[in-house]
């Protein structure tokens, strides 16, 4: 497939850029390291393979699928049946039909089950892609989120269940556990910190939450995959030495609600590209 070939060569080129950046930084010291990493990040913006996921996702969104052979035309993401434009900028939100606060991934699964006739386990299958195993959910998320690019984040906090999810997410963010005593706040509660050379957003500030949240999903160069916010949370908890966060679980939605709401007012700018 041409897509695979493109990803492979893109990864090789970016890989070379990383090696070059690090080699140069060793020669020039710490200030230069930061400069080189910034230059590397800027170079990434030139072409974003996330477009391949967006195109595949658009096709999935518009094609009849599942046992009932229907498309997502009747799927209401909060802005009316089938409306994708600007929908992601107002998620998560409370959905009366499900009587639950839902993020995008959870809502997609809901539509696949209630409208397309998939079983819950089938709809939840393969949320994160790997080599030779592309995820439909990641592609659908890429397409839907691309339709909010440039739209200001405007996550509602009106319904009692929206308020509850936000309050729970706020608490979960500082919950310490695991072998290492880590919480989200261990790495994401101070400005200007890094893990190794990776900058860490301070998610407890509006500016930090805005910058981070509006740049997910993202094509991850190091993985050759487009990654969603559900993946971002799952992988943070893996590194926190927690057990595995269940896809579309209540905690995943509460944390997403907390971070998305804190990003309100910023223009959504994803799918992005990250190292």
């Amino acid at each position: 497939m041409p897509a695979t070939k493109f990803q492979g060569s893109a990864r090789a080129a970016f890989g070379f850029a990383v090696v070059a950046a690090i080699a140069m930084s060793v020669a020039h010291g710490q200030v230069s390291t930061v400069d080189e990493i910034a230059r590397y990040r800027a170079a990434l913006q030139d072409g974003n393979p996330a477009e391949l996921w967006e195109a595949r996702g658009e096709n999935l969104w518009k094609s009849p699928r599942g046992p009932k052979n229907v498309s997502f035309a009747a799927c209401d993401l909060g802005q009316g049946p089938g409306v994708v434009k600007g929908a992601y900028a107002q998620l998560p939100r409370y959905f009366a039909d499900a009587d639950r606060v839902m993020d995008l991934e959870t809502r997609l699964v809901y539509c696949m089950v209630t409208q397309q006739g998939y079983t819950q386990p089938d709809a939840m299958k393969g949320p994160f892609g790997g080599p030779g195993n592309k995820s439909d959910i990641e592609a659908l998320v890429a397409y839907v989120t691309s339709q909010s690019r440039g739209v200001k984040m405007n996550v509602p906090l009106a319904h009692p269940k929206e308020k509850e999810a936000f309050a729970l997410g706020e608490k979960m963010f500082v919950y310490r556990g695991g072998t290492h005593d880590f919480s989200c706040a261990t790495c994401h509660a101070e400005d200007g910190k890094r893990i190794r050379l990776q900058d860490l957003p301070n998610l407890m500030t509006v500016a930090g939450a805005q910058k981070a949240y509006t740049t997910w999903p993202a094509y991850r160069v190091s993985q050759g995959e487009l990654r969603t916010f559900q993946w971002r949370l799952n992988d943070c908890f893996r590194q926190q030495r927690f057990p595995e966060l269940i896809f579309t679980s209540d905690a995943s939605i509460a944390l997403t609600m907390y971070l998305a709401r804190n990003a309100n007012g910023a223009a959504f700018d994803a799918p992005a590209i990250k190292r």
Binding site: L168, A185, R196
Partner: protein
């Protein structure tokens, strides 16, 4: 006592009328609910079981005071509790091999559900600290440890502090961001001695 009063007060309101209880829901109740929702939102994977979500007293208190100033008496209690947990070396020796220490400081694997349970477990010190000047890829969550003993002296006191701090950071600074490597059985006594050597051996590049 105060917490109990609040809970009973809330229950009383429910008995009379539902109105008002939601807004009067205490911070403690929200925390309790958050912990319960977290526990139903994870699944065991590999070596990471659901028991990792169970908090010990230190984790519980540090969570409770995460967004507030830690009261002095609570901080002292946490430090005392954790000081008592430090297992000092039986042979009275502090220094291992700094070269092994460097490998342990570089190693990021260990204890993640994606890690081989029989594979290496490191301290991943460089994730948060500067150590040797040769390694430029270091994080900044913790302070720079470059010239650790050159600045503090190559003394038993410095070495004992390094050993104790790595074993249980909360003994020195309640609710530290640093894992309790000995206490939580992440690193062995020998690995901690190797890290003490990385920090306090005059031959270690950290002190050059």
């Amino acid at each position: 006592m105060r917490k109990h009063f609040l809970l009973w007060g809330c229950a009383g309101v429910i008995a009379v009328a539902m109105v008002g209880c939601a807004t009067a829901q205490s911070d403690v109740d929200v925390s309790r609910q958050a912990a319960a929702v977290l526990k139903s939102s994870f699944k065991a994977n590999g070596q990471a079981g659901l028991d990792r979500l169970d908090q010990d007293e230190t984790q519980r208190l540090c969570t409770q005071y995460a967004n507030k100033a830690l009261p002095k008496d609570v901080a002292e209690m946490i430090e005392k509790l954790n000081t008592a947990s430090i297992k000092w070396p039986a042979d009275g020796k502090w220094l291992g091999d700094w070269k092994n220490g460097e490998r342990i400081a570089q190693e990021g694997r260990g204890k993640q559900f994606s890690d081989d349970p029989k594979g290496p477990v490191g301290g991943n010190c460089y994730a948060c600290h500067q150590l040797t000047p040769q390694e430029v890829s270091y994080g900044t969550i913790g302070p720079s440890l470059y010239q650790f003993a050159k600045l503090r002296g190559y003394t038993d006191e410095t070495r004992k502090y390094a050993y104790g701090k790595i074993w249980n950071a909360d003994a020195y600074s309640a609710c530290s961001n640093m894992p309790r490597f000995g206490h939580s059985q992440i690193l062995t006594e020998q690995q901690i001695k190797d890290l003490v050597a990385l920090l306090t051996d005059p031959d270690s590049p950290v002190n050059k």
